[in-house]
């Protein structure tokens, strides 16, 4: 009785095509672009973790193994679409013009990290699934204003259990909003496995109860992801309503640098998952097509390293906010009735710095 979801995929784990490719994927350049961004994202992640380990960054969530989702989303979106991310979308953020320095600032405990990026994009969202409400609100605003832009909202498999997502999904279906939910099913919500999160055979089935077109995609297959994302975003922009994309992937890292996955993640499962990871898979395909070589790889990795290093430099040298910055932007203007707070702060500052 339960409908079975077919997982859309074009490349198998070995990077061989398993069905006729969509037309656009006959060109190599779009795929090369994906590949390059995936490598850059991975390099960035590694560096961020290194910074954290050496006390130069706070807790950081790596996207290792899920780069295909973030990167294809970034590339499938138009610049004036709206990104409503969660916290594991560094690849998407980078493509949309959020600087590495800014991402590092955010995870380095500096609010200014969220000042960057396209004006309309939402900042990193920590309270799980709450961004889904924002996404449908933003989509409603676009619909009301008669714009043909789309909203893309990311979330995790854990987030799919939280009411916020389910309520927003319902509204998206009801009001036929221009929104695409991209569910990064990386099989874990910290230590809680996908099986302990939901009994449905596919998380994409949650779209059924909301009247939302839903699809399950191999999230480590760049071709499938880009194709489905492009279709869904185009449908949204064309007023054809929302889509839920469940992207099947695997979290190859700890949840964050504060986590130790070896406590709960079976070693063989992790090893199996490594065999399906998106970077090697696409590399095999591109190499088999003669579009990529070790030499190109080395060159690109050097470029990545350079880019990342100079961003890190920029980050580390960035002058800190003033202590009183905590009061900024809370209200449009700091209310006069609250000036005694500034006074109290000034005294604290004076006491501590002797200034």
């Amino acid at each position: 009785m339960e409908p079975v979801m077919q997982t859309v995929r074009y490349l198998d784990d070995q990077g061989h095509t398993c069905q006729e490719l969509p037309l656009w994927a006959h060109e190599m350049e779009p795929l090369l672009e994906c590949y390059r961004w995936m490598l850059l994202t991975r390099q960035f992640d590694q560096k961020a973790i290194a910074l954290q380990r050496t006390g130069q960054l706070g807790t950081y969530p790596s996207s290792l193994g899920q780069e295909a989702i973030a990167v294809t989303l970034g590339l499938a979106m138009e610049p004036d679409d709206v990104l409503v991310p969660y916290y594991r979308d560094h690849g998407t953020q980078l493509i949309r013009g959020c600087g590495m320095k800014d991402i590092l600032l955010y995870w380095g405990g500096d609010e200014r990290g969220s000042a960057a990026g396209p004006q309309q994009d939402f900042p990193v969202c920590v309270p799980i699934a709450t961004q889904c409400g924002h996404a449908v609100g933003a989509a409603k605003a676009l619909q009301l204003q008669g714009r043909s832009q789309a909203v893309a909202c990311t979330l995790g498999d854990g987030a799919s259990s939280k009411g916020d997502f389910l309520e927003a999904l319902n509204l998206a279906g009801l009001w036929q909003l221009p929104v695409v939910f991209v569910l990064n099913n990386n099989q874990w919500a910290i230590s809680v496995s996908r099986q302990k999160q939901c009994a449905a055979s596919a998380l994409a089935l949650k779209g059924m109860g909301a009247g939302v077109r839903s699809v399950q995609v191999d999230g480590n297959d760049v071709i499938a992801m880009f194709d489905e994302l492009t279709q869904a975003l185009e449908a949204a922009r064309a007023g054809q309503g929302p889509t839920l994309i469940e992207a099947i992937s695997y979290r190859l890292s700890d949840h964050t640098t504060a986590d130790d996955a070896s406590r709960y993640c079976p070693q063989e499962e992790l090893q199996q998952a490594w065999k399906k990871e998106p970077v090697a898979r696409l590399k095999r395909f591109l190499t088999s097509q003669g579009a990529w070589t070790e030499a190109l790889e080395q060159k690109w990795l050097e470029h990545c390293q350079h880019t990342v290093n100079s961003a890190v430099q920029h980050y580390l040298e960035y002058s800190p906010q003033l202590p009183e910055a905590m009061f900024d932007h809370l209200y449009e203007d700091w209310p006069t009735v609250m000036e005694d707070q500034l006074q109290a702060f000034a005294e604290r500052r004076q006491r501590r710095l002797g200034e």
């Binding site: 309270p127 409400g133 927003a168 009735v337």
Partner: protein, 327 residues
Amino acid sequence: MSVQDLTMVEAVNLALHRAMAADESVVCLGEDIGVNGGVFRATVGLQERFGEQRVMDTPLAETLIAGASIGMAASGLKPVMEIQFMGFIFPAFEQLITHAARMRNRTRGRMQCPLVVRAPFGGGIHAPEHHSESTEALLAHIPGIRVVIPSSPRRAYGLLLSAIDSPDPVVFLEPKRLYRVQKQPLADDGERLPLDSCFTLREGQDVTLITWGACVRETLLAADQLQERGIAAEVIDVATVSPLDMATLRQSVIKTGRCVIVHEACRSGGIGADIAAQLAEQAFDYLQAPIQRVTGFDTPMPYFRQEQWYLADADDICAAVKAVMDY
């Protein structure tokens, strides 16, 4: 411009009509606000006039109403969301606290969150369970959110227009006990009243009575009774309970040396505690008696057969005034 005699709920409705007519980006959303015009008729006529796109009946989901409003507000709209009764606002708390209050601060000014949360609140209308709460103190504890409470048709109109203008998120609580008790002549002149300001409703030298919401009515009644006994009470409607205009309150208490604070919510952790603490600090040398608080009890609002025992009346206020006068 014609002047009409309006109740508070009609004044709310008038302000909504005006704000929506003046600015296309103002939208309303909530449960039953469309064709039904709101369970208290506060949104009557809006959907007819401005259409279903701008006056939206939502599914039954307060978390969603708040979340979507934040998304709209950060995307250029000015949503006025309704929570049908304040007792049902809690599902919206995560959104209001972790996002609405912080979106501008978090993005260092890149994004705004100019939304208004309207909710009828308070007891005294013989409603069922959860339809009579006064939990304004919870929201007043959240930096970044303004909490505004009108207590007359005129103030409802002027403060709601200011709340909608405000680039900050505003929780606008409407004391439903006052929705229809009193009419005031009101012109639709668009005149705003300041947030961040208390309203001194009555001047007096002997004691300062500080209150807001539905208790303003009882407090004014008490002031009348006190007058007859020769006690001149100053009555201040706090109106914006967060952030607090302490200057006005402080000046009054420095003048009178005596103070009674009246609110409907339960005593512990009520906004009365905050005001009392600040006054006791800031007017320490002027106070001639301990500040008294006349409040609800630290229990849930009882069901309506007993709610009069929970709600303070003019006599309760007078008794407290007597205590501070006799101290």
